[in-house]
Structure formats: structure tokens, C-alpha cells
């Protein structure tokens, strides 16, 4: 039957032939993802090449000295204290907002998150400009806690929202009091989220430069910056960077543990929470006062002082032109970098979501190593490499800055892109093809509409992160060009608070508002995914 059929209609057979190729998409994806991983890990490679160029003996000598011990003590004690404070504040506030009858919960949910969108160096500037007490260790603890506790608040609030209220009831019925129920069941359920948030807090503190420079607190990051930018002492900067990357690696090593627990406590989307909130009763007023104080310290002070300096300094703030110019360059660099990071994240996300093989997982995990590399280290590695091996080509040029941004914020892009790729299962593309649509039509009409909003959100997240980045920007910004962050920094360094203040306010405005919108977007994603399936 077949043979005769073929003989009768040869053209029908010969028409649409695809050459014998097998499993090409995974191979292509593996290749693209591998290339991305190489790009991302290039700074680490550069760092190691630089270190080996100086010789192991020199590096070891530079590391084994009292300075390193001082820096290590400063960095570690600050990290431990701030992380602990953030864990307590973040968890308590999340519980108050999500699990109690706190008045005005929706407004608090917004106000408590906004400080995270304000760059740490702006909060630091606000505090340091009004009080000499906010200096050194105590200042760093205060400022960093206020700036980063939302990193714990956000995941814990999400976890409490999805938690099973039945467990609390069970604990109460087993004779545990309210406090013990909170500590053993509520906190226990959110443990993964708390640990995950703490890992992020620690990584942020390891990478922070601007805030500590303003507060006069010496950590690895400030010292690396000074050695590299001021003293041009590359071997020392390189040696200290190695120690810092190892510290980041140690913190990151705790992440899989935290993540594993986090998954275990999250119940499925089908577990609809019966809204039954704890009554605060007589504690309502004190709790409201405490929250108001927290928001005043974290949000009110930086905004208030910036407004104050803008009007009180007497300097006519005719910086409109420079704000526009700096704003344009900020938007340009951030936009290109965000597009690049989103593009780089696409193959890795596709590989991780659609082909959950061992190779794909390994590649995806390896890209998270970027989290252990602070901006200063990435900037240093890239600029030094460009100078040494590319004959200075591209040093302090826009492409280099954009590459640094894209590498630095790749993990952020990956989180967003992964979530959006999960919205377009392969089955839908197959269904579209069986309806006679060509692959390009399928992409335009099915894949893109489904993942487009998520990609746009990922783009915006990275854009905002780039726009408020200071450390790498200071190292790599093209000569003669100012971004919002670097212009603010220059005025702030000169103690021209009146001129710095408008830049601080612009940064706050462009960071806070879209962050709120984005947070709402990502909040809605899971419910949409649930209903779509």
C-alpha cells in the first residue's frame, strides 16, 4: 500500500523535507546556555588570571596581614548583626501584615517594602547628613538594617500568605500558647523563606560600597575600591577580592539548604487560605506606633533630609540640565544592559524549565555563582582585563559598563524570565503547530504573548537595578559622562548636599514607584498561572 502510494504521488513525498536532525533544540540551548555561563563566570576567571599573574606567594603575603584580619572582623560582625536584625524585623512585620487584623494592612504592605527600592547609599546619605552619631559600626548597623530588612519581609510575607492555617489550629489544639505557636509553627513554616532572605541580606552587605564609604566604615569592598581606584594597587585589590568572593561563596553555600526547606513548606496553590487573622487587641496601638517609627526611620529620614537639603542649602538648584543629561545616560546604559541580561537569561531559563536534565540544572546553578561576586569585583576584573589584555580597548567605555551590569544583574533577570517561560508550556506550542501554524507564527501568536509580560517585568527589574547601581558604575562609567548615581556621588563627596539632594530625590522617584508596580505584578503571577492551567 505504501509503495504504491508513493509511486502514485511522488511530489507529495518529496515536498517538505527536513534533514535528519535529532534533538537539535536541546543541543542549541545547551550551547547557548554554556556560552552564557562562560560570559558570566569570565570575571571570576579574570580575577584568577590576575592573581596568578602576581604570583601565589605575593597574593598569600597580601592576604596574611593585619589589614585583612581587620577587614574580615568588620565585615563579618556587621553581616552577622544586620542579618540577625533583619531576620527579626522582617519576620515580625511580615507576620503583622499577613496574619493579624492590623489596621491599614495594604498601606503598610507598600510602605514597608519601599525602603528596599531606595539605594543604600541614598539612605546612608540621608542619615549621615543630619547626625554625627550615624558613623562607623553603629551607623552601618542602623542604615543597613533599615535599607535591607525588606529582603526578609518579602519572601516571608509570600510564604505566610501561602501557608496552611490548619497547622496553627492544630498547634493550638495541642495545647501550645500563642507565642509558642508563633515560634514553633508559624516561624517554622516560614523558615525556608527567612533563611533565603537572610542569604540575600548577607550578600548585599558583602557587596555594599557607597553606604559604608559615607559612614566611614571600612569593609572589604571599600578597601578594594580604594586600593584599585585611588592607589592603583592592583595585586592588593585582587587579593582582597579573592577573599571577598570566598566569603560570598560561603554565604551562597547556605542557599541550597534554605531553598530546599522553602519548597517543602509551600503548600500547593489549591490550598486556599481561610482568612482568619489574629486579633491584636490592646497591642494594636503600640504595634502601629512601632511600625510608624520603622517607616519614619527607613523612608521618612532619607526623603525628608533630601527635601530639606534641597531647600535649606541656599544653593539655587538649577541642576535641571545636568539631571536631564545624567538621567539620559542612566536610561541608555540601563536599558541596553537590561535588554542584554534578559536576552542572556532566556536560553538558561528555557533549558531549566523545559529540559530538566542534569546538565541544564548544573548550568543554571553555575550562573547563580554570580551572586557571590560583588559589583566592585566584577568591575575590577573587567576593567583590569580590558586594560591588560585588550590593549585598553573599551576601558571606561559604555559597552564595558553595560557588560558589567548585565553580568551583575543576570540572576535577577533569570528569576523573572524563568517565571515567565513557565507560562508557556511546550504542549501549547505543539497544539498550535498541529493546527497548521508555522514555528514563526507559533512564536508570535502563542509563545510571545504568554511570556511577553514576564519578560517585560524582568527587563524593568534589571533596568531599575542598573539605574540605581553605584559601585561598578563609579569604576566603569565612560570618562566625562555622569549618570544619576555618579553625579549624586560627586556632589555628596564634595559635601554639596544641596546639589546632591535633587539627584537623591530623582533616584528615589524612579526606583520606588516602578518597584511597587513590579512587586504587584509578580504578586499576581502565581494566581494567574494557577487559573490558566
Amino acid at each position: 500500500m505504501i509503495a504504491t502510494g508513493v509511486a502514485a504521488e511522488p511530489p507529495a513525498v518529496a515536498d517538505p523535507v527536513v534533514p535528519a536532525r535529532r534533538r537539535l533544540p536541546p543541543l542549541f540551548l545547551l550551547g547557548a546556555s554554556g556560552a552564557v555561563a562562560v560570559v558570566l563566570l569570565a570575571p571570576l576567571l579574570f580575577l584568577l588570571i590576575e592573581a596568578s599573574g602576581s604570583g601565589a606567594g605575593t597574593i598569600a603575603h597580601l592576604i596574611w596581614r593585619p589589614l585583612t584580619a581587620t577587614l574580615l572582623w568588620n565585615t563579618v560582625r556587621l553581616t552577622v548583626v544586620v542579618t540577625a536584625l533583619c531576620a527579626v524585623i522582617g519576620t515580625l512585620t511580615a507576620w503583622l501584615v499577613e496574619c493579624t487584623d492590623l489596621p491599614g494592612r495594604r498601606i503598610w504592605a507598600v510602605l514597608l517594602v519601599i525602603p528596599f527600592a531606595i539605594p543604600d547609599f541614598v539612605i546612608s546619605f540621608g542619615w549621615a547628613s543630619i547626625s554625627t552619631w550615624v558613623q562607623g559600626f553603629q551607623g552601618a548597623v542602623l542604615v543597613m538594617t533599615l535599607a535591607v530588612y525588606p529582603l526578609v519581609y518579602l519572601p516571608v510575607a509570600a510564604s505566610l500568605r501561602g501557608a496552611d492555617p490548619g497547622l496553627e489550629d492544630a498547634a493550638r489544639s495541642l495545647g501550645l500558647g500563642r507565642v509558642r505557636t508563633f515560634l514553633r509553627v508559624t516561624v517554622g513554616q516560614a523558615r525556608g523563606a527567612i533563611l533565603g532572605g537572610c542569604v540575600l541580606v548577607a550578600l548585599v552587605i558583602l557587596a555594599e560600597y557607597g553606604a559604608f564609604e559615607i559612614l566611614g566604615y571600612q569593609t572589604f569592598t571599600t578597601e578594594i575600591f580604594t586600593e584599585f581606584q585611588v592607589s592603583f594597587n592592583v595585586p592588593t585589590a585582587c587579593a582582597l577580592s579573592l577573599v571577598l568572593v570566598v566569603l560570598g561563596g560561603v554565604v551562597l553555600g547556605a542557599e541550597p539548604v534554605a531553598r530546599g526547606k522553602g519548597r517543602a513548606v509551600r503548600t500547593g496553590a489549591q490550598a486556599q487560605r481561610a482568612i482568619r487573622r489574629h486579633r491584636l487587641g490592646r497591642a494594636t496601638l503600640p504595634v502601629l506606633a512601632a511600625l510608624a517609627l520603622l517607616v519614619a526611620l527607613a523612608l521618612g529620614v532619607p526623603v525628608g533630609t533630601s527635601v530639606y537639603w534641597m531647600f535649606a542649602s541656599g544653593v539655587p538648584f538649577l541642576t535641571g540640565v545636568s539631571v536631564l543629561d545624567a538621567g539620559w545616560h542612566t536610561a541608555l546604559y540601563s536599558g541596553v544592559a537590561a535588554a542584554l541580561a534578559t536576552l542572556l537569561a532566556l536560553p538558561v531559563a528555557l533549558l531549566a524549565v523545559r529540559h530538566s536534565g542534569r546538565g541544564g540544572r548544573l548550568l543554571e546553578r553555575s550562573t547563580y555563582l554570580v551572586l557571590a561576586m560583588p559589583g566592585i569585583v566584577i568591575a575590577l576584573a573587567i576593567s583590569y582585563f580590558a586594560e591588560r589584555y585588550a590593549g585598553g580597548f573599551g576601558y571606561q567605555s559604555a559597552p564595558l559598563l553595560i557588560a558589567a551590569y548585565a553580568i551583575l544583574f543576570f540572576p535577577l533577570a533569570l528569576v523573572g524570565v524563568r517565571a515567565s517561560v513557565a507560562h508557556a508550556p511546550v504542549a501549547l506550542e505543539e497544539a498550535a503547530r498541529s493546527l497548521g501554524r508555522r514555528p514563526d507564527e507559533v512564536f508570535l501568536r502563542v509563545t510571545l504573548p504568554l511570556i511577553g509580560p514576564g519578560l517585560a517585568a524582568a527587563f524593568c527589574l534589571v533596568f531599575l537595578a542598573c539605574a540605581t547601581e553605584l559601585t561598578a558604575t563609579l569604576v566603569l562609567v565612560p570618562t566625562g559622562v555622569q549618570t544619576l548615581a555618579t553625579q549624586f556621588w560627586a556632589y555628596q563627596q564634595n559635601l554639596s548636599y544641596g546639589q546632591a539632594a535633587p539627584f537623591a530625590l530623582v533616584i528615589i522617584a524612579i526606583a520606588a514607584v516602578p518597584s511597587y508596580v513590579l512587586a504587584r505584578h509578580f504578586d499576581r503571577l502565581p494566581s494567574r498561572a494557577g487559573s490558566a492551567s
Binding site: M1, I2, T4, G5, V6, A8, E9, A12, V13, P16, V17, V18, A20, R22, H423, P425, A427, L428, E430, A431, A432, R433, S434, L435, G436, R437, R438, P439, V442, R445, V446, P449, L450, S531, A532, S533
Partner: protein
């Protein structure tokens, strides 16, 4: 559901009078109801392995045009892989797929999924979440005159008139499946593949959706291939059932033939409850512990060792012991299903392993009751391999959920 009356037919004609072609290159018929040149499907020697794990090991299958066929197999038997190869999502390692005598897949050719005109209804419906019901159904249709009317007609055909502007998440599971079917039928496929489309539906809903789907597919004139692991579903919906086992086709037959004359004892148990009884054949009769049985497979050589298949329905159970012809037996256990009951019995002389009989639900048979059993009608049999060879296990005697 739309009854197969003349009125919708006229509506179809009116609806598609404006445009004549679907989105696909082949010229479409003037009406959705006009019989498409029904094109059968043939596969020969299909092989597919994932890594070292062979999934299909030489599938030879012929499904005549216009048939509603079922591919029945346990999970892991390769049935879904077969379906994905037919749809063009996977390429076979070896072998030929042809539709209407035209080769889609062989060692040198692979027709891409979008050019096959083979419709596909995925397991979970897989509706496009960003499109309305109308958008989903019209996805494969080009923009042209009469498109709206065509979509409305398809929706009416699957019983979803008026729901066109809803989004998939606003529909129930059964409604989603109907939309998925309408979407596949919209492009007038030669063949419709249904990948366990009823698995996620409630038992009550399943029968209705099943009947509606069959009616809608048959009116479209397409050949249908339904993949399922549920033998009850396969037997009740299909004209032709292909049982796939360990990557090869074990048997292709009508549901009745498959149930009454399976090719081997394992298959007999796979498609329903089975009592397997050893005996000796004498021409068209056999001597067994249950007495002399009539064989349905014509003349057998004398004194051949055989295994006889007795379906639970073939055992007539009468309550009073010793009354009338038959073998005395005792009830061991009764599994009540409402409309009927499966009774596990053991003969008084214990000459055969416990057996299962199906009795009407109203019949009260408590454990321990004395009964008389008799085999009714001719029985299917297989020659038994010489002693010492791997013999089929004694019949499964657990009263489990059988067909019905």
C-alpha cells in the same frame, strides 16, 4: 449536543459558503460535514528509543479511513510516544508513517507537524490561556469571510454555544476538552489524535463528554485515534482497538473480537476479568473441570492441551446447590457494584482455582452460599504450551473493578 439532523447541515453549508479553504494547503471541502476523502493511517516497523530505553520496537498498524480507533496500553507501553510520532512532534528512529498512501515519516523524510493536517487534542486540553474560546477555536483558521460563523458552528457542534467570549480558566474541565476538540476540528484534519482526553474528568461527566466527542468527530468525517489506558473506555468508544504492549502492537481487533478472542491469556486479562481454565480439546468441544464446554474457534485437534477463556458473564450462577446441571460451588466473596456484582467462587471439588462470575446486582449471594455454576455459550481457547514451559499463572481471582 447537536443531534445529527438536517438543520445544522444546512447551517454548515451557509456558514462556509463564503470561503472554501482552511488554513492548510489542501483544498478544504465546501462544508464541515462533507465527507473528507477519508484517509487511513499506516505505520510499519516504527522504532523509537529515548537514550538506551527502547519505547517503540517495531509498531505495525493499519487504521482504515473514517474509523474511530483506540490505542490501548498500560502506562509506559509506548502509546503516547506513538501518538506524538503520528502528530509529528517526535521523529521515529526507524520505520514509516503514511496517511492516505502518502509517506509522512521514513528514513529520509519528516513532514513537520504543522503540515500534516493531523489534529491533536492534548491530555489536559492545553488551551491557549491568553485567548478566548473563540480565539482558541479559530486559531488555525485564516482571517476570511465566514470565519465567525464557522467558529460559532463548531462551538454549537460541541455544545458550547454562547461561551465564545469566555477565557479557558472560566470553563470546567469537560468544557475545556470540548473546546480543544472544536479547535482541532476547525482546520478539518484528516486524522484527529486524542491523548487520554477524558482522564482528568469526573467519572459522571466522562460518559457524556465521550459520547459527544465521538459524535462530533464522526460528523467531521475524520479518522480518530484515541490513546487510553482504560480498557473500558477503549471498548466502549472505538470501532477498532489496537493493544500496544512493550512497544509492539499485540492485537488489532474490533472491541467485541478483542474481548471474546484475545490473542493470548495475558491480553485476555488486560482487557477484562478472565477465568482461565485448563482442559483438553476434542474437536469443537473441550473437557474441563467445569464439564464439557463448547469451543468457538472451530475444530481443534483431538486430545490437545488447551487453556479456555471463560468471561465472568459466561458463568451462570444459580443459588440452590444440587439443582439442575452444573458444577457445585461455594461463594467466597461478593463485590457489589450496584448494577451488577462480581462473585468469587470456588468449586466444591476445588479442581480449579477460584473463579469470578458476574451476576445481576439484585441477586443476593452471601459468602458461604451454595450455588451451581454452568458455562453458557462457546468459549475461546488457546493451545497450551508443553508442560514445563512458562505457563500462564492461575487465573486472577481477585474481584476487581471489571468493565462496567
Amino acid at each position: 449536543m447537536t443531534p445529527g439532523s438536517g438543520a445544522p447541515l444546512a447551517a454548515d453549508r451557509a456558514a462556509s459558503a463564503g470561503g472554501s479553504t482552511g488554513s492548510l494547503p489542501a483544498p478544504g471541502p465546501a462544508s464541515l460535514d462533507a465527507p473528507i476523502a477519508t484517509e487511513g493511517l499506516t505505520t510499519s516497523d516504527l522504532h523509537k528509543a529515548f537514550g538506551d530505553h527502547p519505547v517503540l520496537r517495531g509498531v505495525d498498524l493499519t487504521i482504515p479511513g473514517g474509523t474511530f480507533a483506540a490505542v490501548l496500553g498500560a502506562s509506559g507501553s509506548g502509546k503516547t510516544t506513538l501518538l506524538r510520532i503520528l502528530a509529528g512532534f517526535e521523529r521515529p528512529d526507524r520505520g514509516v508513517v503514511a496517511v492516505g498512501g502518502v509517506i509522512l515519516d521514513d528514513d529520509h523524510h519528516h513532514l513537520r507537524a504543522e503540515r500534516r493536517r493531523i489534529g491533536y487534542v492534548p491530555q489536559e486540553g492545553s488551551l491557549f490561556p491568553h485567548l478566548t474560546v473563540e480565539g482558541n477555536v479559530g486559531f488555525g483558521l485564516r482571517a476570511r469571510e465566514g470565519r465567525e460563523a464557522e467558529i460559532a458552528d463548531l462551538l454549537e457542534r460541541v455544545g458550547l454555544s454562547g461561551l465564545g467570549s469566555r477565557y479557558p480558566h472560566q470553563l470546567s474541565g469537560g468544557q475545556q476538552q470540548r473546546v480543544a476538540l472544536a479547535r482541532a476540528l476547525a482546520v478539518r484534519p484528516r486524522i484527529v489524535l486524542l491523548d487520554e482526553p477524558f482522564a482528568s474528568l469526573d467519572a459522571g461527566l466522562r460518559a457524556t463528554v465521550r459520547a459527544d466527542v465521538r459524535a462530533a468527530v464522526q460528523r467531521s468525517g475524520a479518522t480518530a485515534i484515541l490513546v487510553t489506558h482504560d480498557q473500558d473506555e477503549a471498548l466502549s468508544i472505538a470501532d477498532l482497538v489496537a493493544v500496544i504492549r512493550d512497544g509492539v502492537v499485540a492485537q488489532v481487533a474490533s472491541p467485541r473480537d478483542l474481548y471474546e478472542s484475545p490473542v493470548d491469556p495475558d491480553l485476555a486479562r488486560f482487557v477484562g476479568e478472565a477465568n482461565l481454565i485448563e482442559g483438553t480439546s476434542y474437536g469443537s468441544t473441550a473437557e474441563t473441570p467445569l464439564g464439557w464446554l463448547e469451543l468457538c474457534d472451530g475444530h481443534r485437534p483431538s486430545r490437545q492441551q488447551i487453556t479456555v477463556l471463560v468471561r465472568p458473564e459466561q458463568l451462570r450462577v444459580t443459588p440452590s446447590a444440587g439443582g439442575g446441571p452444573g458444577v457445585a460451588a461455594r461463594v467466597v466473596e461478593t463485590g457489589f457494584h450496584g448494577h451488577d456484582a462480581l462473585v468469587r467462587l470456588i468449586t466444591e471439588d476445588a479442581a480449579v482455582a477460584p473463579m469470578i462470575a458476574r451476576v445481576v446486582g439484585g441477586m443476593r449471594l452471601e459468602p458461604g452460599a451454595q450455588v451451581t455454576i454452568k458455562v453458557v455459550g462457546p468459549a475461546h481457547c488457546w493451545p497450551r504450551p508443553p508442560a514445563g514451559d512458562a505457563n500462564p499463572d492461575p487465573p486472577a481471582a481477585e474481584p476487581k473493578a471489571g468493565p462496567g
